[in-house]
């Protein structure tokens, strides 16, 4: 299996994506159809509406991934699909498509855990990341610290007990009527604000574990806002955004560095939608530099959900575990295991 062209498919949430990746390393194409129009209209992901959109788009997205890479279906040598973790109705569409392709083309089918995909997003952008290392993967759907022993060998160190970090961004943005998704708008707004204006809590930052909690922080931000309104005071939206973002960044960076120190590793990778946050990247870089650690981020196009990371993870899984059964099913709440 020296050279293998994998078609990746990702439909676990609100992005319909298909990608062609050679040998788990070289991206030939990575087509992503977002549902931003729907998300803005409904203020978030509505599972039934997202699933309908996936059904509409899946064929086009696969065709575009092939066309833009100058390849045909006959060039596809394996099909990898997100089958674990996500919205059930959305995952179903991707897996139904992947099974059909695998059956028609007589090529191996591979089921991939969405979180493993995010870890591979970073490995795709930075193949030089040393093993072992600690990976913080953080998005609107999850917040996890993973000890990456080697390719496809993981240990979950900690995860969020309530909201995901990206979810907190989304909910704050929704509350402040800034639109959806919240990450980019809060990031932009925060750039002009004072990050010390509000002393928002850093939940679990000093706790003796590697778990996260963002629900209380979100409430605290909303209360601070309401308090200002009740007192008829000027609403410093930029300051609220900057102080909130700083609290999230503080917790994420501190816990990740602690995980790295506990495991004695000198490399950190950060992935998922929130890894695109400019302040998070800056603080990670500064702190890691001071402590003599290396930090890696995926290319911006690989931060949010995409099929290239699924194709890359699928390639590694195929080498390690072989192909999946044709009765591959979706596991929306599958825990992330080794």
């Amino acid at each position: 299996m020296d050279s293998l062209l994998v078609l990746g498919i990702e439909t676990s949430c609100d992005e319909t994506s298909a990608s062609l990746v050679a040998d788990g390393r070289e991206i030939f194409s990575n087509k992503i159809a977002t549902q931003l129009d729907l998300l803005n209209k409904f203020g978030g992901v509505v599972p039934e509406i997202a699933a309908r959109r996936h059904t509409e788009l899946i064929g086009y997205v696969i065709k575009e991934a092939l066309d833009s890479a100058g390849r045909t279906l006959n060039d596809v040598e394996a099909v990898a699909v997100t089958s674990k973790q996500g919205l059930i109705g959305c995952l179903l569409v991707g897996v139904a498509a992947a099974k059909s392709l695998s059956y028609a083309l007589q090529v191996p089918l591979i089921g991939v855990h969405h979180i493993e995909g995010h870890i591979f997003a970073n490995l795709l952008s930075n193949p030089q990341i040393p093993m072992p290392h600690v990976c913080l993967t953080v998005s609107g759907g999850h917040t996890m610290l993973v000890y990456v022993k080697d390719y496809c060998q993981y240990e979950l160190l900690g995860s969020t007990l309530d909201d995901a970090a990206g979810e907190a961004f989304d909910k704050i943005a929704k509350f402040l009527e800034l639109g959806f998704p919240g990450g980019p708008v809060v990031d932009k707004l925060a750039a002009g604000g004072d990050k010390k204006a509000f002393g928002f809590p850093r939940p679990l930052m000093r706790a003796n574990n590697l778990d996260f909690s963002f629900s209380g922080l979100k409430t605290s931000v909303i209360n601070a806002f309401k308090d200002k309104v009740a007192r008829n005071e000027k609403l410093p939206l930029e300051d609220i955004a900057a102080s909130f973002q700083e609290a999230v960044v503080d917790v994420l960076v501190n816990k990740t560095l602690r995980a790295a120190s506990m495991r004695g590793v000198s490399s950190i990778s950060v992935s998922g939608g929130v890894s695109a946050n400019s302040r998070l990247r800056q603080v990670f870089r500064d702190r890691c530099q001071r402590q003599g650690l290396e930090v890696f981020f995926p290319h911006l196009s690989l931060c949010t959900d995409n099929a290239a990371m699924i194709a890359a993870a699928g390639y590694a899984r195929l080498k390690k575990d072989g192909a999946a059964d044709m009765n591959l099913n979706v596991l929306p709440n599958a825990p992330f295991e080794v």
Partner: protein, 240 residues
């Protein structure tokens, strides 16, 4: 022409193969909450039982629904991606039409009924047999079973799972109205989907695989809410 027919609208995998007007295979696999898991294995099983492989199939028919939203998404996605990846033509067939054919050779009005998942709400339509095909009269119906029963003002044959579920109400209507209203037992059939698709192929028709979509007949609750809200807001704006 060998056609593969798939219908997953009713918590099952109904899969069949037709060759001209002959049925080479027709199987019904229950899949209460999970039409996805065995869909491809079931297709492979039916093809092999018929002595065929996917490469022998010359066209694909897909039951579009209405029915279980998740179910029809699985069937339509499998149908369209199989068609796209084999380069074979595909035809979507409304599941209500498939059920209308199960009334057999009759000149009476045929009304297939499918339970819509919420209390006493059904999907239905009225069909009548013409010279060589059945045609739908009027729009698809989505609403209460009581509303549907009120619409029946002539002798009719009721088919589909909904007809069976509300058999007693149709029998009451027959007594109160004096019309002969008959409930015919009928289920989903992949072979019937295949035959109806074959007829469309025979007329030179087919659907575009990539744009093929399920026939939901109902908006998702969130979209319906937003539509109502914006219609209300608009009306208010016009009034003010």
């Amino acid at each position: 022409m060998k056609v593969l027919g798939i219908d997953t609208s009713g918590y099952a995998n109904a899969i069949g193969v037709s060759d001209g007007d002959r049925i080479s295979g027709d199987a019904f696999f229950e899949a209460k909450t999970d039409s996805l898991e065995k869909i491809v294995s079931n297709i492979d099983y039916v093809l092999k039982e018929a002595g065929l492989c996917l490469g022998d199939i010359q066209g694909i028919g897909v039951g579009l629904g209405p029915g279980s939203w998740t179910g029809i998404r699985v069937g339509v996605t499998v149908g369209k991606v199989l068609a796209y990846s084999t380069g074979k033509p595909v035809c979507g067939i409304p599941t209500l039409k498939v059920l209308a054919y199960s009334a057999g050779d009759t000149s009476a009005l045929v009304c297939p009924v499918i339970y819509a998942g919420t209390r006493d709400t059904v999907y239905a339509a009225f069909y009548r047999r013409g010279e060589d095909m059945i045609t739908r009269e009027g729009e698809y119906y989505v609403g209460s079973i009581a509303g549907l029963i009120e619409m029946i003002n002539e002798p009719a044959i009721m088919t589909g799972s909904g007809a069976e579920a509300y058999r007693h109400l149709f029998e009451q209507k027959a007594v109160s109205s004096g019309f002969a209203i008959e409930v015919v037992e009928s289920g989903l059939s992949g072979a019937m989907v295949a035959r109806l698709a074959a007829r469309r192929f025979g007329r030179g028709e087919s659907d575009d695989a990539l744009s093929l979509e399920p026939l939901y007949l109902k908006e998702s609750t969130a979209r319906a809410f937003v539509s109502r809200y914006s219609a209300g807001a608009q009306a208010k704006g016009e009034g003010g």
